[in-house]
């Protein structure tokens, strides 16, 4: 296939390697070597991660976290145009500026819909197993070409701009991946089983409302801890949903599961552990408060959670 996950890893690795190299020679960056190590090792994992022993990678990841934790990952200085220059440039290209920006999502959607049909010289265009990601990768390349042509800039300038954005996000860019790793360690270590055991042994599950509350709020709380509703769902549904709500109170399994999963999503909206939805955008939008996005969405999440609690309760068949 032409756009496979492996190719995209190399592409991302090359961008990160350029970021690391530019950081290493950037004398305006007060912590250039720490920052260069952070991005350089991360680039290595994209370029050659499959060739390294996992234990080495584990050691390197711990080193990355320590470097970030000691504030050794800092941005360089980026020569930004003045406001007037920006406005003048914006006037030159006008609405054409929207084209490459909108091309990324549009090309990605069209590509993923055609994923299984697109062939070039008998070779599938996209990796069928990862068609969504492959489509995003392909659309990014197409949009970059379009943007370079429109703005008469080189791809090298694109990489410099990518570095500016990587610098703005700093280690928050890597946090979702580290949290997902923690989720995998949690499930290897059996954290879910311990939580389900506590919930089922210390709460009076024979009261209908309490049983519904344990399931709905438990989904949310467990998602807040794990950062991911998918991790909470098997634990809470296997531990409380099926044996108590379906087994004792005869809940409709489809309704219980759908409402349970949505309750988990309410948790996702309220936790810094769901970094790619909450912490990365705060960094990307340059908010001074890392929890600013969570603060903006918790009222919606709480209202939906309470709605779910009563919806599932009233959907239980009468005793």
């Amino acid at each position: 296939m032409i756009f496979s996950l492996a190719h995209l890893y190399v592409l991302a690795g090359l961008v990160l390697a350029c970021v690391a190299a530019m950081t290493a020679i950037d004398r305006t960056n007060p912590r250039r070597f720490g920052s260069a190590f952070f991005w350089g090792f991360y680039a290595l994992l994209f370029l050659a991660g499959d060739l390294l022993p996992p234990a080495w990678i584990g050691g390197g990841v711990i080193a990355m976290a320590v470097v970030a934790g000691l504030h050794r990952v800092t941005p360089g200085q980026h020569a930004a145009p003045t406001v007037e220059e920006y406005v003048a440039r914006a006037r030159r290209l006008g609405n054409k500026l929207f084209l490459p920006a909108l091309a990324i999502p549009l090309v990605a959607v069209v590509a993923s819909l055609l994923a299984n049909k697109g062939m070039v010289a008998g070779v599938p265009l996209l990796d069928a197993g990862n068609s969504t990601l492959a489509a995003v990768g392909m659309s990014s390349v197409v949009a970059l070409a379009l943007a370079c042509w429109l703005t008469r800039e080189t791809p090298a300038q694109g990489v410099r701009e990518a570095r500016r954005l990587v610098d703005a996000m700093s280690w928050a860019l890597v946090l979702p991946q580290l949290l997902a790793t923690l989720g995998l360690v949690f499930s290897d270590a059996g954290v879910g089983k311990s939580v389900a055991w506590l919930a089922t042994h210390y709460i009076a599950m024979d009261i209908r409302f309490l049983a519904v509350a344990v399931y709905v709020l438990g989904m949310a709380l467990f998602t807040v801890i794990m950062g991911n509703g998918f991790a909470a769902f098997p634990v809470m549904t296997g531990g409380v949903g099926l044996p108590v709500l379906v087994g004792v109170f005869h809940a409709n399994p489809a309704a219980m599961a759908a409402i349970g999963m949505f309750s988990g999503y309410c948790g996702t909206l309220m936790t810094p552990m769901a970094a790619n939805f909450n912490i990365v955008p705060a960094a990307l939008l340059e908010l001074p408060d890392k929890n600013g996005v969570i603060r903006a969405q918790w009222p919606t999440a709480m209202a939906v959670l309470v709605f779910n609690l009563f919806l599932l309760y009233f959907l239980l068949p009468a005793p």
């Binding site: 961008v15 920006y86 701009e161 946090l175 311990s194 801890i225 939008l285």
Partner: protein, 245 residues
């Protein structure tokens, strides 16, 4: 009653909560929790490093979708995309930040429900387009905005993307969540049509839209009140990169 499962791995959860409450650096907290959890579960040093390394490698795809569009977005920003988005929305005299975000919420939730989850996102839509447009619309109505209100608008733009995505995608039958639910119930001996699961997602999806839209609708009145009470902004909060600080 003695537990038939080990409760020791819960120490990792305690580390996470304590770390976030004490506001340590999240990278340190998360890696610390991973190490503590692995040790508590009886992993040795090598097994712990292996688990962290293998897990980190397996989850690279999470960051991929953020890194790949950056060069394009960065180039367009260099040529004034955010300034243009701000100016473009101001052509619509009556547009307000709240209305703009309600339209985006509806579009995001509807397209996600059709499975088109790629139409949106923080990197490709919120930072370059939606957040500047929300700021531009508010500025056209209320004059130069203080930073506090700018940040609030941006955070709400990101929150709107999340709410639309989450509560839209879970009523799309072919989405991972529905498949996961159907598979899980099937393994537990309960045959459930994925369509039924999607159907029971509808009330919550509708309610989430209504609640968030009401909050956005009230945003305009809140902004008007806050801007009236706030002292006028001496220097517009236009920072280094032109759109804002």
């Amino acid at each position: 009653m003695a537990p038939d499962v080990s409760l020791w791995p819960l120490i990792g959860v305690a580390v996470i909560i304590a770390g976030f409450v004490l506001r340590f650096n999240p990278m340190i907290v998360v890696i610390g929790a991973a190490i503590v959890t692995a040790f508590a579960a009886g992993f040795g040093v090598v097994a712990t490093l292996n688990a962290i390394g293998a897990g980190f490698l397996k989850t690279r795809n999470l960051t991929l979708a953020i890194i790949l569009p950056l060069a394009t977005i960065g180039l367009l920003e260099r040529h004034g995309l955010r300034q243009h988005a701000q100016a473009w929305i101001q052509r619509f005299r009556n547009a307000s930040a709240g209305q703009l975000l309600i339209v985006y919420l509806a579009a995001r939730e509807f397209t996600a429900a059709l499975g088109l989850t790629g139409l949106g996102g923080h990197v490709v839509m919120v930072r370059p387009l939606i957040a500047p447009m929300a700021e531009g619309a508010a500025e056209a109505r209320h004059g130069p905005l203080p930073d506090r209100i700018r940040y609030k608008l941006r955070a709400l733009a990101a929150a709107t993307d999340n709410v639309g995505l989450f509560f839209g995608e879970d009523i799309f039958v072919a989405f991972g969540a529905i498949v996961l639910i159907a598979t899980f119930l099937h393994e537990a001996g309960i045959a459930v049509e994925p369509l039924k699961v999607a159907f029971w997602g509808l009330p919550t999806a509708g309610f989430a839209f209504v609640v968030h839209a009401i909050r956005l609708w009230r945003l305009d009145a809140t902004l008007a009140r806050e801007m009236r009470d706030a002292p006028p902004v001496e220097s517009p909060a236009q920072g280094r990169d032109g759109v804002s600080a």
